[in-house]
């Protein structure tokens, strides 16, 4: 097997193993209901993690996405409360804003040669502050269209519900896989992650690609914000604090190299589902503190970083020999 597939294989193996352990203890976890809920509950995280994967593949980081999700929720809620616009129009407007916001950060990163960490950190505060500007309260969304979205699902055999937002997440992952692995833009992203100077020598338009990468991440954060607002039927400026870090964790557990240049969008989906599975297990158990989720995620992260370091060393040793 190609060594670049090892981290992905490890992710899938860990996920399956975790599931087998869960099912042995709680056979009901094999049901489609649990599967359906897993997809629904983690839809917003899965979507934003796709954007994060592309950013991390390019060697960057986007800390603003959690705030952008919160801003999106508040923006939608306030717009629906105060104007008569149809939700679809509000969604379109929001996606333009979120994409533009990401593009602006990408442009700053390139034009000023600033580290993405700093620029997106500023973006994080900016988006969170903008959400507070709109409202400081939780604003409920009460719209017939939202009821429609909420009730849209496909009943799987076994009465599990594949909800619309779960489906949107799966579609987003598929689109992300094509963008990252099957387009010239995706090739440029990997090239940037492999080394900017070399990428430039090979003819990558560095500026344009950087802007597109962060615009894509912004778009994903906006979409995730829409999904989150459907999921919670409200907008709250204090929502999704720290989601950017959860997304980064999912990307790394999914086998993407944090330094960029290697990884898989599909692995990110598995990373998100692994984290969701641990959460589900704790809910099933009932007696465990939910903090165990964090501890296990921490351990998994550590394990993957060690795996990646080990792989790097193996590859180096073989080339050197």
């Amino acid at each position: 097997m190609n060594p670049r597939l090892y981290p992905l294989a490890a992710t899938i193996a860990i996920f399956l193993l975790a599931w087998v352990i869960c099912v042995m203890q709680f056979p009901y976890m094999l049901s489609t209901r649990v599967v359906g809920n897993l997809l629904t509950d983690n839809a917003y995280l899965g979507i934003v993690a796709v954007g994060m994967t592309v950013v991390i593949l390019s060697g960057g980081i986007d800390l603003s996405v959690g705030s952008v999700i919160a801003f999106s929720g508040v923006f939608i809620a306030v717009m629906l409360r105060d104007t008569g616009l149809h939700p679809i129009l509000v969604f379109a407007l929001l996606l333009v804003i979120a994409t533009g916001f990401g593009a602006a950060m990408g442009w700053l990163i390139h034009a000023l040669a600033m580290p993405p960490f700093i620029v997106t950190l500023a973006g994080m505060f900016l988006a969170r502050g903008a959400a507070y500007m709109l409202t400081i309260d939780s604003v409920p969304i009460d719209h017939a269209f939202y009821d429609l979205l909420d009730d849209a699902y496909y009943l799987m055999p076994g009465k599990g519900r594949l909800t619309l937002i779960g489906l949107v997440m799966l579609l987003t992952v598929s689109v992300g896989m094509i963008v990252a692995h099957r387009t010239r833009f995706g090739a440029s992203v990997f090239a940037l992650g492999g080394g900017e100077a070399t990428a430039r020598l090979m003819g990558v338009k560095v500026g344009r690609t950087t802007v597109m990468i962060y615009a894509f991440s912004g778009l994903m954060a906006g979409l995730s914000g829409i999904v989150f607002s459907v999921y919670t039927s409200s907008g709250y400026p204090l929502a999704t604090v720290g989601t950017e870090l959860t997304a980064i964790a999912a990307v790394v557990i999914g086998g993407t190299l944090l330094t960029g240049g290697a990884g898989f969008v599909f692995g990110t989906l598995i990373g998100v589902l692994t984290m969701g599975l641990i959460q589900t297990y704790i809910v099933f158990d009932g007696s465990l503190s939910s903090w165990w989720t964090k501890i296990i995620i921490g351990l998994l992260l550590l394990a993957f970083i060690l795996l990646q370091k080990g792989l790097l060393r193996v590859t180096m040793a073989r080339v050197g020999a």
């Binding site: 190609n2 060594p3 099957r182 010239r184 992650g193 492999g194 020598l201 003819g203 290697a262 080339v319």
Partner: protein, 505 residues
């Protein structure tokens, strides 16, 4: 002529990197471009590949004047370049690397199968049997180099520039690479070959152009040259009195009290174990071509690389030279060759740059009082005649020669017993050159021992009491007193390899 360059000139602040250089490349020839560091090779190549814009001169390709402004523009014109290492991405597959930017598309998506076919077609004729769907990092540097050539040829196809392509290859890999290069030459490509391995130059190339200090020295058929002539052209031989002043009055038989002794000091892959004794107040010269092991010797002595074997002693006992900190504690100093990268901190002031090493030795717990720093800086600005608007001027604004003087001041302020200067006069003007040589003589008269590494033979002859010749990462000869002449040094450098083995056997 495929490619003609006429009176190419490129000036950087403080230095003329290229000064009216002419260069011709015929289709179907391999043309070596030689010269020491700073001779202008890389500037010439960067003007060709669009990394730099030339100030003056003319470049014509197949009769048309060209002025590429970027690497990709040069590529489209037909000039492809393969650098030593950085031109492909190890995290992509071979096929992705080869087709990057020209991926076959189907419905807007990359057609993987067509991509593999295209990559295999590009590698045809290179006698490589590899799986193009594997990551590039799975293959050795030699194979990567050939893949890089295949990509450059496919994209450009007229002129191929090979910039030190063999630096990290072993002998058999070099042969494989050369077979590929000869094949391309026979297909009618013009190939520029940059290398500091003279054997390879004689083995592969049809003509040679030597650059020195930004000027063309000669262009000659390789077959008409021998090693000695070539090295003379590269290092220069005519003594320039105005630059170096009077050659050192060599006091035959003069003995220096021994200060340091290195015994069997060496590191695998860097420099073979050598013995060296350093006298108090003596100036040692280290001569050899670029890549011969000069800088490696110095780095080992200063603890930048740990020695695998041997030991260093002084009168009191064994010295610990395992890190620069310990070397400094032992009274060593080192002014590196890459002044801009390793020697100065451009944003800090002259005063801060001078106080740097001294502060490092005292530790951050005991800062040097500002007044003391000020006194030190003013003292050395006067003593070394550093041209600056004052101690607070950022060192980056100074000319090369004055930067070098600040670096010297930093070490002189430490008053080391053994100071290593790697190419102390690189990239500085004639006047400053003479002053630095005068300074070296002055401080050694006061008892400091100095090791000078230089590509300028005249310089070594002018200051050194003893010259060590380095070749192929070995110390091969030691010349003292009246033995130190251009001829003896050049012959020691040029001696073919088999002589070395006999001497060492």
């Amino acid at each position: 002529m495929l490619l003609t360059i006429r009176s190419l000139t490129k000036t950087f602040p403080g230095t003329k990197a290229l000064d009216g250089v002419d260069f011709d490349l015929a289709a179907g020839e391999v043309h070596a471009l030689l010269g020491e560091n700073g001779a202008g090779k890389s500037t010439l190549i960067k003007c060709l590949t669009g990394a730099y814009e030339r100030d003056e001169g003319l470049i014509t390709l197949e009769g048309e004047t060209i002025s590429p402004r970027s690497t990709s523009e040069a590529q489209e014109l037909g000039i492809g370049t393969v650098y030593q290492e950085v031109n492909l991405l190890p995290n992509l597959t071979v096929a992705q690397n080869l087709t990057f930017g020209n991926e076959p598309l189907r419905f807007g998506m990359v057609d993987r199968r067509a991509q593999l076919r295209q990559a295999e077609a590009m590698l045809e004729g290179y006698r490589l049997d590899i799986d193009v769907s594997r990551d590039l990092s799975a293959y050795s540097v030699a194979i990567r180099q050939i893949i890089a050539i295949a990509r450059a040829v496919a994209l450009s196809g007229k002129v191929l520039i090979l910039d030190e392509p063999t630096a990290s290859l072993d002998a058999r890999e070099v042969e494989t690479l050369f077979a590929v290069v000869r094949g391309l030459r026979d297909k009618g490509l013009g190939i520029v070959f940059v290398s500091h391995f003279l054997d390879q130059v004689f083995d592969l190339t049809d003509r040679v152009t030597v650059l020195r200090n930004g000027q063309k020295v000669i262009t000659e058929r390789t077959a008409d040259l021998d090693r000695v002539q070539l090295i003379e052209h590269m290092l220069g031989r005519a003594l320039k009195d105005d630059v170096v002043g009077h050659a050192k009055a060599h006091q035959a038989g003069r003995e220096w009290p021994e200060l340091l002794k290195f015994e069997g000091f060496g590191r695998r892959g860097h420099i073979a174990p050598f013995d060296l004794s350093v006298g108090e107040g003596e100036v040692l010269g280290l001569a050899g071509l670029l890549g011969s092991g000069r800088t490696e010797s110095a780095e080992l002595m200063f603890g930048l690389a740990a020695a695998h074997s041997g030991a260093a002693r002084d009168a009191k006992g064994t010295l610990d030279l395992s890190s620069p900190r310990k070397a400094i504690a032992a009274g060593f100093g080192f002014a590196p060759e890459e002044r801009k990268e390793d020697g100065i901190i451009a944003d800090l002031s002259v005063r801060e740059n001078i106080a740097l090493a001294m502060q490092a030795r005292r530790g951050w717990m005991r800062p040097i009082p500002r007044a003391e720093q000020q006194r030190l800086a003013e003292d050395y600005i006067e003593k070394l005649d550093i041209r600056t608007s004052g101690p607070e001027q950022p060192i980056g604004d100074l000319s090369g020669g004055n930067q070098q003087k600040v670096v010297l001041a930093r070490w002189l302020a430490m008053n080391p017993r053994f100071l290593i200067l790697d190419e102390p006069t690189r990239g500085i003007d004639v006047g400053a050159h003479a002053e630095i040589l005068r300074l070296i003589r002055q401080v050694t008269a006061e008892g400091m021992s100095i090791l000078v590494i230089s590509s300028e033979l005249d310089e070594l002859i002018a200051v050194a009491d003893r010259v060590i010749v380095v070749r192929d990462r070995r110390h091969v000869a030691e010349l003292t007193g009246s033995e130190i002449t251009t001829d003896t040094i050049v012959h020691a450098i040029a001696a073919p390899d088999r002589d070395t083995t006999e001497v060492l056997a």
